[in-house]
């Protein structure tokens, strides 16, 4: 439990399950598995992270690393079946959401924690106008009348810098461009002024030029509103500008957590090192792109020891036997590697 993660703010042995710690949102030793006909996939295997007001935590990882499933579990939108939470807590203001009634959880959604999805085209309802879908929040959750809800919705569209917000109110999602749709999605998620915003790959489906605009907008809104933001991404480039801290996930575990600067400067886990090395570089133009060899593990049959060991260039016999816990390395960072110290201390 608590001994798995020792990060900057929590000294060893504190922050155990159930004890209020004054944190805004904490995920504590979360475990989720998918029970399918072919077997049980252990998708989340003890994830612990937290986010406070005004900070941005980036959760980084390949597809299938469990970063989105963690977010879905926080939001309570995990598809059950096949997904089942088998352990751990998700605490919002110190209260475990996984033990709340459906009604209590529903009230937190949108107002306490809101979420932006990757593909706004499919995430917005195709048969209702964008305006309706934003105004709906004000009408259903705030009990506003039609006219006032519409006014507030137009304000929201304005805030996310949609030109001619008033005229766009009655447009359908398919009449928006990709970037505009994602802006509308952001407007919708921020309508009820949430304390935490989870952005699940908010720019993956967009053109590169638009990606930067959306990230800037998100960062700006996060700063203005002092929200806690969880930014889920597999794009290291996106993370560097926006995030305060980064948690790297692999096979349903956090393998490294650190400040942005530390992580880029000195990765304390070979997987993080591999990710950073695989960013294409201009000075190596013409050479073969570097990749992490091998494939992510089959979650129905995670290898014993460190789950990264079959792909790890540094793997030793110990890696095949013992699962490295997430331990503090130096100050303010943690790594789940038997050789974290060596990695950080190398020149």
């Amino acid at each position: 439990m608590s001994d798995i993660l020792v990060s900057e703010q929590s000294a060893p042995g504190t922050g155990g399950s159930g004890r209020p710690s004054g944190r805004l949102l904490e995920v504590d030793d979360l475990r989720v598995e998918f029970r399918t006909r072919d077997g049980v996939a252990k998708v989340i295997n003890g994830v612990t992270y937290h986010v406070d007001a005004g900070e941005t935590l980036a959760v980084l990882g390949e597809s299938g690393s469990g970063k989105s499933v963690t977010a879905q579990t926080i939001m309570g939108i995990l598809d059950t079946p096949p997904g089942f939470v088998t352990g751990g807590q998700v605490r919002f203001h110190g209260k475990d959401m996984l033990r709340m009634s459906n009604e209590e959880r529903r009230r937190i959604r949108g107002e306490g924690i809101a979420m932006i999805f990757q593909d706004a085209l499919s995430a917005l309802n195709p048969v209702f106008t964008v305006g309706f879908q934003i105004a709906e929040q004000f009408r259903v959750r705030r009990g506003m009348g039609r006219a006032e809800a519409k006014k507030r919705a137009i304000e929201m569209l304005d805030q996310v810098k949609i030109p001619n917000a008033k005229g766009r109110f009655n447009n359908y999602p398919h009449q928006f461009s990709g970037g505009m749709r994602q802006r509308a999605m952001i407007a919708m998620s921020l309508a009820l002024d949430p304390e935490v915003l989870i952005a699940d790959e908010p720019t993956t489906a967009l053109d590169v030029t638009v990606q930067a605009q959306i990230m800037d907008l998100l960062a700006e809104l996060q700063r203005e509103r002092q929200m806690g933001m969880i930014l889920i991404t597999h794009d290291l480039g996106v993370v560097a500008d926006v995030a305060d801290r980064i948690a790297v996930m692999y096979a349903g575990r956090i393998v490294e957590e650190a400040d942005v600067y530390d992580l880029y400067a000195k990765p304390a886990h070979p997987y993080t090192l591999g990710l950073i090395d695989s960013i294409p570089r201009l000075d190596e133009k013409g050479q073969q792109l570097r990749t992490i060899k091998g494939l992510p593990p089959n979650l129905m049959n995670i290898p014993p020891g460190c789950p990264f060991n079959p792909r790890c260039p540094m793997a030793q016999p110990v890696c095949r036997e013992k699962l490295p816990p997430l331990l503090q390395v130096g100050t303010g960072r943690a790594s789940a590697c038997h050789f974290a110290e060596e990695l950080v201390n190398r020149v």
């Binding site: 999805f117 195709p126 709906e136 259903v140 998620s189």
Partner: protein, 308 residues
Amino acid sequence: MGRYLLRRLLQLVPVFIGTTFLIYALVWAVPGDPFAGKCGERRCPDQYIAFMTEKYHLDQNVFVQYANYMKNLLQGDFGTTFSQREISDIILTSYPNTLKLALVALTIEAVIGLGAGVLTGLRRNGFLDNLVLVSTLFLIALPVFVVGFVLQWLLGVQWGIIKPTVSSEMRLSELIVPGFVLGSASVAYIARVARTSIAENRRADYVRTAIAKGLPMRRVVGVHLLRNSLIPVVTLLGTDLGALMGGAIVTEGIFGINGIGRQVFRAIVTKESATVVGIVVVLVLVYLVMNLLVDLLYAALDPRIRYE
């Protein structure tokens, strides 16, 4: 929208001409002397034959006959039976009865079918789901006349809950059981289509978004999910009205309703070809209008196809 409507209306013209011509040609091409047995045991008088041949252009080829028929039809003249009864008269007395019955059947289909479909689509593989699947399979497998006779005998004769036949006033309360009988197979199809549609859309991203917005479950289902899932159901319901009216013959027979099914049957037996064509032509119109309505409703339900 206006142009879409206009285009759709124009499309109806060739379809209407094509279908009515086929019906006309088929009905008049039925072998046999149209005057056989018309005048009792005797052969019909020559003047009568000459008069009718003249009136229906029986000596001309089928194209001319059809053209003449359509010319009269467009002026509202459906012609007369061999006994000089106005066919429009028959249509006017029998159509409202069948329409009433079909609308009751359609309402029952929509309410029961959609209700069962939504409930089972949300909870697949539960007890209710299996119950509905089995009972709908049962309804689909049973021919209408079996359902009809069984219900008439059970509810009307054994238990006395309903009158076994429908009175000429066609009261709504009398039509519920015949309506259910007529719509029984379709109820099953509607329930299954609605179930599939709901179950498919249940996992859609926008449903997940609606939940993530913190909307109450009844709103997520009743507004976001239902609106998207209705599209195939509406299509099925709309096109079914024509099928219900055309297929009402058995139900009408069982419950003694004076509808078009009965009239068509009688007209076919007595070789009253003009009556058959007249009734079927109106039925074709009902089909075409309902199809158009469905397409318009479809565009209203799904804004993405509005201007296509």
